[in-house]
């Protein structure tokens, strides 16, 4: 964990904070705040991030998600309001993305075999429709947490929030400019720019293979990791939706991308392919 408060530029005092959580680097840049205010905001943010890490970590046997994965195939599992909301949202997003965003996808799983997480709003419970199912919130938690953080920082009017670089949310604009300029570097030539996005009260999510070149997103239809080249970037208001959409559009076949995107008004997406010769092919989806 790191906290820096700088007044080197007296016109724009700025706080920077970093926390390694949610299996990534979480960062906050907070300009034009007093130091006590920045510290209080950051502490509150990290409390939220740590709680999310505990709750949504499927590898922690004591997490709420592990309890669901362990018991929901045989019993209805009672869950709290937030988990119910998350599972409800994930269900909605699965439908809206034509099944390409799916928290029940895991290596070896196949959506054509069926499998639902069945929610009961009256009793606030969840139950799996078949044995062998499990849920992974890794692809959703970052967007959900960033959504909560963006609401926390919104009243301050100016902040930049990043979870691992793949999910970024700009509150207001850069203190010296009209927007936050976010550059996606070229995969093979990091000094070169693949594409720059301007965020003003908006979010950007990027999905693709990780920096080491390994695929880590599961195709819900085949149960295999997606190994294709390139990445998908989605820009829009809500960090939760950009996160969901970038994952779904990365996994979905090209023929279905447009119809998936059309269900989400106000969101734009690009297919970015960095070539070994230094060029970049960018296609607006």
């Amino acid at each position: 964990m790191e906290f820096i408060y700088s007044t080197k530029n007296p016109e724009v005092p700025v706080a920077y904070a970093r926390l390694d959580a949610l299996h990534t680097r979480c960062e906050i840049l907070l300009p034009r705040c007093t130091e006590p205010e920045a510290r209080a905001q950051v502490e509150s943010a990290w409390e939220l991030v740590r709680a999310a890490g505990r709750r949504y970590n499927r590898f922690d046997p004591d997490s709420e998600l592990s309890r669901i994965n362990r018991d929901a195939a045989s019993n209805e599992v009672g869950i709290d309001e937030e988990m119910f909301l998350i599972l409800e949202l994930c269900s909605t997003f699965r439908t809206a993305t034509q099944g390409w965003f799916d928290i029940s996808a895991h290596p070896g799983s196949r959506s054509d075999l069926g499998g639902e997480w069945v929610l009961d709003a009256t009793r606030r419970t969840v139950r799996f429709s078949r044995p062998g199912m499990s849920l992974d919130l890794g692809g959703f938690a970052k967007g959900f947490v960033l959504e909560q953080l963006s609401r926390q920082f919104q009243p301050l009017g100016c902040a930049l929030l990043s979870l691992g670089g793949s999910s970024t949310c700009g509150i207001g604009a850069h203190p010296l400019g009209e927007s936050w300029g976010i550059t996606v570097p070229h995969r093979y030539y990091p000094d070169k720019t693949a594409r720059t996005f301007q965020l003003r009260d908006g979010s950007l999510s990027v999905s693709g293979k990780d920096a080491s070149g390994r695929g880590h997103i599961i195709d819900p239809h085949s149960g295999n990791t997606v190994e294709k080249e390139g990445l998908v970037a989605v820009q829009g208001r809500s960090p939760m939706i950009t996160e969901v959409l970038s994952t779904a559009l990365w996994v979905a076949p090209e023929t279905q991308r447009q119809s998936i995107l059309s269900s989400f008004e106000g969101y734009e997406a690009w297919d970015i392919l960095c070539l070994p010769d230094g060029r970049t092919r960018t296609l607006k989806i």
Binding site: N9, V14, L29, T183, V184, P190, D191, L204, D210
Partner: protein
């Protein structure tokens, strides 16, 4: 810039956004006149200009001026008819002269732009000032230190504008860089490196052998001081800016004709070291038979390095740096830039592969290969500033002083390389 007529707003949009409120303006006082407000004051007025010397550089300026609504080309002069005809084709309304003294008598010329061989600069500049013309002369100012002094004194005796073709004076990224240096961003300045590498013979095509010395005047010692006055002259101003106006006290150097043994008389490779009173060295090296490193200008500090050509600052600190941390450092320095950090996952960067902070956006990196002029190098802004000065009659502050030092350092650097000795550099201005 498109082929459309440039507006004055276009000219200073980039400059203004960087320069506005910059603490470095004290080191760049000539820019204080380059404001949109100043342009509004002279709106509708035009500078009537004559160009003396319509070779490659003269036509480069001509092409830029034809896009500037504050310029009107009324006269052209060259004693080499093919060059004059090429220029006249671009500006058919301009009167043409083969003798510059006739052009200086033209009452419809308010200002002249002198783009002739170096050995002609002093005579033509002094004649132009005496004739009552505002004068722009290409760099380097003069062929000898004595001529340099004479030019400056002639200008001081007059009420005319004198400007010199050092386009870096109007390149916004240098202003921003010096603001960082003076603000302590790279700590104490411990060195200044300049280099300019090309791999070409520096020749222009000659239509007939008798025109060789006229066309390829840069290669002959009667008309040129070679790489020091043609290339180093641009870069040596960096030292004075970085050192807060202090100039070097000595220079030593070396040079030779190493590769292009084609009858030329000036060196095709030179290296010179200028030393400041506090012991800091500024180097200049040029080789024109290898272009791998292109053009470079670097201010080395105890805590960081500024790459002037690329507009990037590097830190000496060996700390991992993410995109948001880079943004923190940029905001601390008052820099607005796009931050490279979005990607599919985060990876640590270390100082050894530090990509640095880009302190200006949209930098046009000039590799120094062009022997005429490069896009985005300040040439357009410089010409517009001259038009502005011709219209207002106001001399941009300190600009002759800048040119004086750059020319003196390049002339003494040339002498040091030819004599293979160390020379003392006289302090103070001759006026």
């Amino acid at each position: 810039m498109s082929m459309d007529k440039m507006t004055r707003k276009d000219f200073f949009a980039s400059l203004g956004s960087i320069v506005a409120g910059s603490t470095a303006l004290a080191a760049f006082p000539w820019l204080t006149a380059c404001t949109p407000e100043q342009d509004r004051l002279i709106k509708g007025e035009t500078a009537r200009l004559g160009i003396i010397g319509t070779g490659s550089r003269g036509r480069f300026h001509l092409a830029n001026l034809l896009l500037d609504s504050s310029a009107k080309i009324t006269a052209l002069c060259d004693d080499f008819p093919p060059h004059l005809e090429e220029a006249a084709a671009l500006a058919p309304e301009a009167r043409c002269y083969s003798d510059y003294r006739k052009l200086l008598e033209d009452p419809e010329v308010d200002g002249v732009i002198i783009c002739t061989p170096l050995n002609l600069h002093a005579r033509m500049t002094i004649d132009a000032i005496v004739a009552g013309k505002h004068t722009f002369v290409e760099k380097a100012m003069a062929y000898t230190p004595e001529e340099l002094t004479e030019m400056c004194l002639a200008w001081r005796r007059s009420d005319r504008v004198l400007m010199v073709g050092q386009q870096r004076l109007y390149d916004p990224k240098y202003v921003k860089a010096m603001e960082l240096v003076h603000g302590g961003a790279i700590g104490e300045v411990v060195g200044i490196r300049n280099y300019w590498y090309r791999n070409n013979d520096w020749r222009r095509e000659v239509p007939a052998p008798e025109h060789e010395r006229r066309i390829n005047w840069r290669l002959y010692s009667a008309s040129s001081r070679g790489l020091m006055t043609e290339l180093a002259c641009h870069q040596l101003a960096n030292g004075g800016w970085a050192m807060g106006g202090i100039q070097p006290v000595s220079v030593c150097g070396n040079g030779s004709i190493l590769f292009w043994k084609d009858g030329r008389e000036v060196f095709d490779n030179v290296a010179a070291i200028f030393q400041y009173p506090n012991g800091v060295n500024m180097t200049f090296e040029s080789i024109i038979s290898n272009k791998h490193f292109g053009m470079g200008e670097q201010i080395l500090g105890s805590q960081g390095t500024i790459d002037l050509v690329r507009g990037v600052m590097y830190s000496e600190e060996s700390i991992p740096r993410s995109g948001l941390e880079q943004l923190l450092r940029q905001i601390e320095q008052g820099i607005l830039s796009n931050s490279a950090f979005a990607g599919t996952s985060w990876a640590t960067e270390t100082a050894s592969n530090d990509k640095g902070l880009r302190f200006v956006d949209h930098v046009v990196v000039n590799d120094g290969a062009s022997t005429v002029g490069a896009t985005g190098d300040g040439s357009v802004e410089l010409m517009h500033a001259f038009c502005q000065a011709v219209i207002t009659g106001a001399q941009p502050e300190k600009i002759v002083e800048e040119a004086y030092w750059s020319t003196l350092l390049s002339l003494l650097g040339d002498r040091a390389t030819r004599e293979k000795t160390m020379l003392e550099i006289p302090g103070g201005l001759p006026w």
